[in-house]
């Protein structure tokens, strides 16, 4: 199973995303933002970090890089894509996911161990979980407040496209405690928290994050 992990200038958690893929049993294919072609991969992870320094808007410049055009095309054709934190921001900016991520309500960067409620256990990236399960993974961002117009958010909720929701406190003021959303087909998922930082007992608050990576491997296999 070949999982591509993209490095943009300013990507930071690309090494961690690759480690998580490996620990889940996948083969990592490093991808470079400036390449125009996407090699043969079964899925792509857009990692966390500060691509282009988060200048202008988080994810805005990265979303317009050559490789992203190929990722968008392949995603439309059904390839699973996971955007974590900055990767989520990139997916929203690239139009693959609805909504936008803005400056945290309290205006601080915040890093804490966060409880999440899994609301959709049937996407390409969450099938290893049970619906209604609570997991704990780190959250760390300065522009993680998920926003959209009320009408858009109502539609999103109506379509059941909220994948994970913050539980036990909202770390950044996101509308309706939304932590992650999916595309209509359940193949593209973006979330602000960092499952790749919860894959080893030694370095994470739990190993609850591993499920994102095993989900896609199982899905691709079946």
């Amino acid at each position: 199973m070949r999982i591509g992990v993209v490095t943009f200038p300013g990507s930071l958690d690309d090494v961690d995303a690759a480690r998580a893929v490996r620990l889940a049993g996948g083969e990592v294919v490093p991808l470079w933002h400036a390449d125009a072609d996407l090699p043969a991969v079964d899925a792509v992870v857009l990692p966390g970090g500060f691509s282009y320094g988060d200048y202008l808007r988080a994810g805005a410049i990265a979303a317009r890089q050559p490789l992203m055009r190929a990722v968008v095309d392949r995603a439309h054709a059904g390839m699973p894509v996971l955007g974590i934190c900055n990767g989520f921001q990139v997916l929203c900016e690239a139009g693959l996911l609805p909504g936008a991520l803005t400056r945290n309500g309290h205006l601080h960067f915040r890093n804490r161990d966060q409880a999440l409620l899994v609301e959709r256990a049937d996407t390409a990236w969450t099938s290893s979980y049970a619906q209604g399960q609570t997991i704990v993974v780190p959250v760390k961002n300065g522009e993680g407040r998920y926003v959209g117009s009320d009408a858009d958010l109502d539609r999103l909720e109506g379509e059941g496209r909220v994948v994970v929701r913050y539980a036990g406190g909202n770390p950044n003021g996101s509308s309706r405690d939304i932590a992650g959303v999916t595309s209509a087909d359940g193949r593209v998922v973006g979330l602000m928290p960092h499952p790749e930082h919860a894959v080893e007992e030694l370095t994470g608050p739990s190993v609850d994050g591993l499920g994102f990576f095993t989900s896609v491997l199982e899905g691709v296999l079946s």
Binding site: L56, R57, A60, R64, C92, E93, P98, G99, A100, T102, R103, N104, G105, H106, L107, R145, V147, G148, S149, D150, G173
Partner: protein
């Protein structure tokens, strides 16, 4: 050289914690005459040759602003 100014503001329905924070600070400092604050971005572009308005509008609307949450105001001026 022509200079183009683009102001990017949050759509009215999107909440603006930075503006709120400034408003709160103004109140605490006794500047109670200010009753609302919205914070946006201000870009000054230097443009070579005559600016092509269509291209500038495209830049403003699709790169400098995120149309999901922001509106833009384009000010073309030559000085």
């Amino acid at each position: 050289m022509p200079r183009v100014v683009v102001d990017v503001v949050l759509k009215p329905e999107i909440s603006d914690p930075q503006g709120q924070a400034v408003l709160g600070a103004l109140g605490r400092l006794g500047h109670t005459g200010v009753t609302g604050v919205r914070q946006g971005k201000h870009f000054v572009l230097d443009v070579e040759g005559t600016p092509d308005e269509a291209e500038l509008r495209e830049i403003a609307e699709n790169l400098l602003a995120n149309p999901v949450i922001e509106d833009v105001e384009l000010h073309l001026s030559e000085d």
